[in-house]
């Protein structure tokens, strides 16, 4: 218990005031905390190792140029081609349709919540949006496949050619899914815009719409972009909706939204649940596509984190 470094003097008073006594509980706790915190580092490393090993194996047999530029993806066929573009195009297509739905709805809701809604109605309205985020994606997939698809096919002129699984319906469902993401982050950004900017604009006789569209939205633009980027990342990484309602086969690049096609995630989910033997080239395609997906979403997330940080720095 005694502090060894004390040089003379009456020990009692010095012992308690100078150096901290060794505290075994506190030290043990700290070790435990560091161990818990390193779990997340281990997770990232684990993901990279799990992806890299089979992916490297894959690229030993298929050239990376063919993989990135090939327009035919037929690992299951006799005539095998390993061009990832069909999967990539399907992924981007669903993403664009989802954004067309989610950006106006999410941004509109966010502006309404932040600039128009009374505090009391905001208390009721925001949870509704959050409930929408709580719906499991398998449910969205089922509703898209079994309800939205027949509805559009039978009642909207020009959509009679909708296939059983198709990009349009999957994209719409995904758009609804990411509305809460877009809305809640852009609302945060708009709420962070200082009140003085609004008051300045009102003093110059601006109307409420002018304040919202010409002051608040431009001031919050980096947060709004971050919200959209995060929405894109969600859409690119979402699996169940596209597996159920979007389609499982992408042999060639087919940008027709009325047709079905496999996105990167749908391909992974479809192959990995089957009985593809471990270690084969077919099996390794899952990891090669997974690596592309991981890098893609990683870049989007990094961009989004950076944008969010920017709006926090400016106003907080």
């Amino acid at each position: 218990m005694a502090a060894p470094s004390t040089t003379g003097g009456p020990g009692v008073a010095k012992r308690s005031l100078r150096r901290g006594r060794p505290r075994p509980v506190d030290s043990a706790v700290k070790v435990l905390l560091v161990a818990a915190a390193s779990v997340s580092i281990a997770t990232t490393l684990g993901i990279i190792v799990a992806l890299a090993e089979p992916a490297v194996e894959f690229f030993r047999q298929v050239s990376i140029v063919e993989f990135l530029t090939g327009t035919s993806w037929t690992p299951q066929f006799a005539d095998k081609h390993y061009g990832v573009l069909p999967l990539l195009v399907a992924t981007l297509e669903v993403m664009v349709i989802a954004l067309v739905i989610a950006v106006p709805l999410g941004l509109g809701s966010a502006i309404y919540l932040s600039e128009y809604a009374a505090p009391r109605s905001r208390k009721v309205l925001k949870p509704i949006l959050e409930l929408l985020a709580g719906v499991p994606t398998v449910v969205y997939g089922f509703v898209a496949l079994a309800a939205l698809n027949p509805l559009l096919r039978d009642h909207v002129p020009g959509l009679g050619g909708l296939e059983f699984q198709n990009m349009l319906v999957a994209g719409i469902a995904m758009g609804i899914m990411i509305v809460p993401t877009v809305a809640s982050i852009s609302e945060d950004a708009m709420s962070a815009v200082p009140q003085s900017l609004r008051e300045g604009a009102y003093a110059l006789a601006s109307s409420r719409m002018q304040v919202a569209t010409r002051v608040v939205v431009p001031a919050a633009v980096s947060g709004i972009v971050a919200a959209v980027v995060l929405g894109i990342s969600r859409a690119v990484g979402e699996t169940m909706i596209v597996t159920i309602a979007g389609g499982l086969v992408s042999n060639d690049v087919d940008a027709n939204p009325l047709h079905g096609a496999a996105t990167m995630t749908a391909y992974i989910a479809n192959i990995a649940q089957g009985d593809v033997p471990v270690g084969t080239l077919d099996y390794n395609t899952v990891f090669a596509v997974g690596a592309v997906l991981f890098i893609f979403t990683f870049a989007l997330n990094a961009l989004s984190i950076r944008m969010v940080r920017r709006f926090r720095e400016v106003y907080e």
């Binding site: 505290r23 706790v29 700290k30 905390l33 560091v34 818990a36 915190a37 779990v39 997340s40 580092i41 997770t43 990232t44 684990g46 993901i47 190792v49 799990a50 992806l51 509109g108 809701s109 309404y112 600039e115 128009y116 208390k123 309205l125 949870p127 509704i128 959050e130 929408l132 709580g134 719906v135 499991p136 994606t137 398998v138 449910v139 969205y140 089922f142 079994a146 609804i176 609004r198 009102y202 109307s207 409420r208 719409m209 995060l230 690119v236 990484g237 979402e238 699996t239 169940m240 159920i244 995630t265 989910a269 990995a272 649940q273 990891f287 997974g290 979403t297 990683f298 990094a302 984190i305």
Partner: protein
Amino acid sequence: MTASSPTLDRTGTAEQGLALTRRRFRVGEVLFKLALQACFVLCFAVLAALLAWVVVKGWHRLDSRLWTGMPTGRVSRIDRAGVQSAITGTLWVISLTALICLPTGVLSAIYLEEYANRERWYNRMLELNIQNLAGVPSIIFGILGLGIVARQLGLGFSIITAAIVLSLLVLPVVIIATREAIRAVPQSIRQASYALGATKWQTVSRQVLPAAVPGIATGSILALSRAIGEAAPLIMLGAVTYVTFNPDGLLSAYTVLPIQIFSFISEAQSEYQELAAAAIVLLLAIVLLMNSLAIFLRSRFQKRW
């Protein structure tokens, strides 16, 4: 944020009033507000329509068969089929997930908020890493489970593999929510505790954590509700089969509700679609109740210091 004060309307005289005090009727303004409200109404309508459609679709199967029957792949036995094994599987997997991810998440958050020196590069990296993990697609966690947990660690396609993977998937949610809750506890409470001679850990465990409980609970419930509804990683981890028995241990084969729903959807017959809808009603009831509880806890118990 009041744009114009309505009290002025009544005090101005008629002539001045028109020009200065009366709020002019602007078509653009009104249309803009209506459009914004329409966004909200549309979101609400979608949620309501989705719930109504699922309930109607699954109405005939919403009875005790749902939890007394086992799933079956044979359409001749579909009348007696239910999702009992998926319900017990979900209970097993989620209980284990809670046991693994809540302590890990809360301890990580305590480290980051109370102990970590933010000047150090490794702590900054840790923070960035957690933010990034929060955005990694769930199917990638399935790849992690397949390559590392199931094969390298040799746990196979079992309940414990599923629980570990779901824990890692929702860990960032728990950490981020707990950090916010801890950060909201004012510094003065810590200083008072130190002034009374408490050690760092005594301060954290007896003052900071109790004060942060509502926030931690909200985040934890949201995280677990997400784990309950998550299907993508488990698709890769052997859950897509018709399991006709309840799990009996950590290494048991299993299925969970969202995966069972996915299997039913993949069958062509309409009986399966009805059963899927009924199971979805059950899943939605669980998930939406948990979400509502979390939102309620947050609004009810959140202290404003």
